[in-house]
Amino acid sequence: MKFNVKPAALAVAAVAAVVALSGAAHAQNVKVAFIEGLSGPFGGVGQNQLKHFQYAAERFSGKQANSGVTVEIVPMDSKGSPQEALALLKKASDEGIHFVAQGNGSNVAGVLIDAINKFNERNPGKEVVFLNYAAIDPDFTNSKCSPWHFRFDGGVDMKLEALTNYMKDEKGIKNVYILGQNYSFGQQVSKYTKEMLAKKRPDVKIVGDELHPMGQVKDFSPYIAKMQAANADTVVTGNWGADLALLIRAANAAGFKGKFYTFYAGVIGTPTAIGAAGADRVYMVSYWHPNSAQSQIESLYTGFKQRFNEEFYTVAAVNAVRYLVAGVEKAKSTNAAAVAKAMAGMKMKGASGEDIEMRASDGALQQGMYVAEWTKAGGPAVKFDQENTGFGFKTVRYLMPEQAAMPTTCKMPKRP
């Protein structure tokens, strides 16, 4: 497999090579317990993320990355249940695995952070580090921040900063309708959207702010009817999975012309479900997408698609692996506490060539943010379509890491 070496990646590879030479004497093996729902209703997403991790480990550790550090991903099926995830955490530490990766579901992540804090306190010397690649509850890097937790995705606050930054300049936006699933993520989307829009676009009216039970709604047409009645031209929604797909289908069927600003339109299965229904009206905020002009990892994307026939989108998995490898190299040890210390504050080049930093003060990766539009594929701006639908994402706004950075209220406990 050939790796299209771009400057940033080259830099990483170079550093890796140097370190690899010094550490070549003792090749190090790091196991990462990948605790995710791999069966059951959300198993599809979990399996897909697992592929990202395995692929990232292949490409960015060990032989292919010319590193002395080899990352091995150990999948563990939590079935999406926090309770099961806790049992697996114990199992992982029993097997001598001190790194845990998880991301689907802030509920599981929150429980894991808490359990890891307790575990590390009770078992000094056997610490566990949590590599969170997708749970974006801002609390995790604010009120609940922990020295053992590293988040490689952008927080809700960062993402909405980017989204509202784009909305600010869209003069067509007059009436915004906020719809979300009734749990902390949906509530936070609603809260930050209102706060940020009030600051950036005080003229915009919030004509609706609605929460519905997660995964319970089968027919979204009444919600669409309500949006139409409220004259909404823009919808901001944190919905994901079936809740998002159903929403957009219902909008299309009812002839609702407004635009949708979303977080998870790119997650496996969702592009298929949205299809043509969402063309030119669905936007997504993310830290990367395949058609981002600055993308440094096109070969990764195509390689992944070729191999698995699935879309590559979780760059956070790649970054998690890269940080882990670099952390081990820097600490010259696989001891989790030492690696955590090494990763805190570490800087790298990101997927878009930007300078990314694992901020030591709250464990949140500072990275660039994209707002992209779902549109017909073709031409240089939309090179790749998603899931063979003929539609893909087009960058409409890019924020540099420093633009997307958000303040933190975290009072980080002293790193041991």
Binding site: K91, N107, D114, N182
Partner: protein
């Protein structure tokens, strides 16, 4: 033994067997951690202990009173939430000792049983099943609507080492998993004893009568709805204790504790264990933890296996594993078991072969689905296969057919021997009856 207070309730001198069984149970609980030393093994034991209480409480409904509930997780789950809040209060200075938290859970379970049971027990039979399902969905969806109590999606966490008390002074902080295990073991023993005692009380017996024939029970003076209501309350109390123990064991309550899938698991594994006997759910709880924690790690197809095993059991052995065990004990009692050794061995041998063939096919199917990630090679019970080659498929199918054929041959032999034995036992019983009066 800890249940000396309960002993006069049902221990009659002639019931020496009972004393032996219960003592063995206590000894087993006491000694298990010596075998299971790793912390993961202890976690498994704890999970099994809690599941055992939950399944036994479930069986009070299904096995004893014939009430098929799809909402048992509501009681265990809500109790966990209450218990977790109580633990946080303890942390904030309440006088309650930590070991009493499961009782708090039990009382919470009872309270929910009083409220929810009032509605659900208005119906029996199939409507009852549907209603518990609906109420379960209601509670689950409601949990996410009240983050103030349920803590939203990340739930509510607590610390089991909080609080003071004389136990702390002697070094029992419940920090180490082993101490939690013994707390669970003590509760398990007490709860099983109490639930067993319940089966021997008038209400326990009338619950059986209502299960068998609700209409007739009305004609001998019992308000069957009230009986159902009482049983639901009793069952929810013990379910609540299981919920309280969960709070101590995992120190966090999350909404998935209330999910209908969990209720379904209680039903499924209680049934597999055997609803007809008191100890059936114990077997069920071991199977539950085995399937959910061990089997699901071994294979991606675990849900398919569980589903198929369940189907087979419902059709061919509706009494569950407990009934199979008891049938064999009966054979031993009448001295008929020895004749079945060879048929059993034959069936086991060919059964294992067929199982391998079947598992190989299933595993290859799953492997083929994810071949891109993990490659097409796999091994089933140590034998290497490749889902991309025809030979592997042919091998698996051939093995399955050989196994199935051999199994069928031996099954027929087995049936002959079994039926023979059945006749002799029937005769023996008739003789014994004739001897009475």
């Amino acid at each position: 033994m800890t249940d000396s207070a309960l002993r006069p309730l049902y221990f009659k001198p002639r019931n020496g067997v009972r004393i032996v069984v219960w003592s063995a149970f206590a000894a087993l609980l006491l000694l298990l951690p010596l075998v299971a030393r790793s912390s993961f093994a202890q976690t498994l034991l704890c999970a099994t202990g809690i599941a055992a209480i939950a399944c036994m409480s479930y069986n009070m409904l299904l096995g004893q009173a014939g009430m098929l509930s799809f909402g048992h997780a509501v009681y265990t789950g809500l109790a966990t939430f209450v218990a977790v809040h109580a633990m946080n209060r303890v942390g904030a200075g309440w006088w309650l000792p930590m070991w009493a938290i499961p009782l708090v859970g039990g009382l919470a379970g009872l309270a929910f049983g009083v409220v929810i049971g009032y509605v659900t027990t208005r119906k029996a039979g199939t409507p009852f099943a549907m209603i518990t399902l609906g109420v379960g969905e209601l509670v689950f969806a409601g949990a996410l609507m009240f983050p103030e109590f349920f803590g939203g999606e990340s739930g509510v966490s607590a610390n089991r080492t909080a609080g003071a008390g004389w136990l702390k002074d002697v070094g029992i902080t419940f920090g180490p998993q082993l101490q939690v295990y013994y707390l669970i073991a003590i509760y398990l023993f007490l709860c099983s004893a109490a639930m067993y005692a319940f089966t021997l009380t008038p209400v326990g017996r009338i619950a059986n009568a209502v299960r068998d024939n609700a209409e007739r029970a009305e004609f001998v003076g019992y308000d069957t709805r009230w009986v159902r209501y009482l049983v639901v309350m009793a069952s929810s109390f013990f379910a609540g204790i299981a919920g309280g123990l969960t709070a101590i064991n995992v120190e966090v309550a999350t909404a998935d504790l209330l999910y209908s899938v969990r209720s379904g698991q209680y039903l499924l594994f209680t049934f597999l264990g055997g609803v007809g006997f008191f100890f059936g759910p114990l077997i069920g709880s071991v199977l539950l933890v085995f399937a959910l924690v061990v089997l699901s790690e071994l294979t991606k197809a675990w849900q398919l296996y569980v589903g198929i095993v369940f189907l087979i059991m419902v059709v061919y052995a509706p009494g569950g594993f407990a009934a199979l065990l008891m049938l064999n004990l009966r054979r031993i009692k009448y001295g008929e078991w020895r004749k079945m050794r060879w048929p059993y061995a034959g069936m086991a041998f060919f059964g294992a072969i067929a199982l391998w063939g079947f598992a190989a096919i299933v595993e290859m199917l799953y492997q083929a689905q994810d071949a891109a990630v993990t490659g097409s090679a796999l091994s089933v019970a140590g034998i290497k296969l490749d889902s991309a080659t025809v030979s592997s498929w042919v091998l698996a199918m051939a093995v399955l057919m050989v196994g199935a054929f051999g199994f069928e041959v031996w099954r027929r032999r087995f049936k002959r021997v079994w039926d023979d034995g059945e006749e002799r036992i029937a005769e023996a019983i008739k003789k014994a009856e004739a001897a009475i009066v």
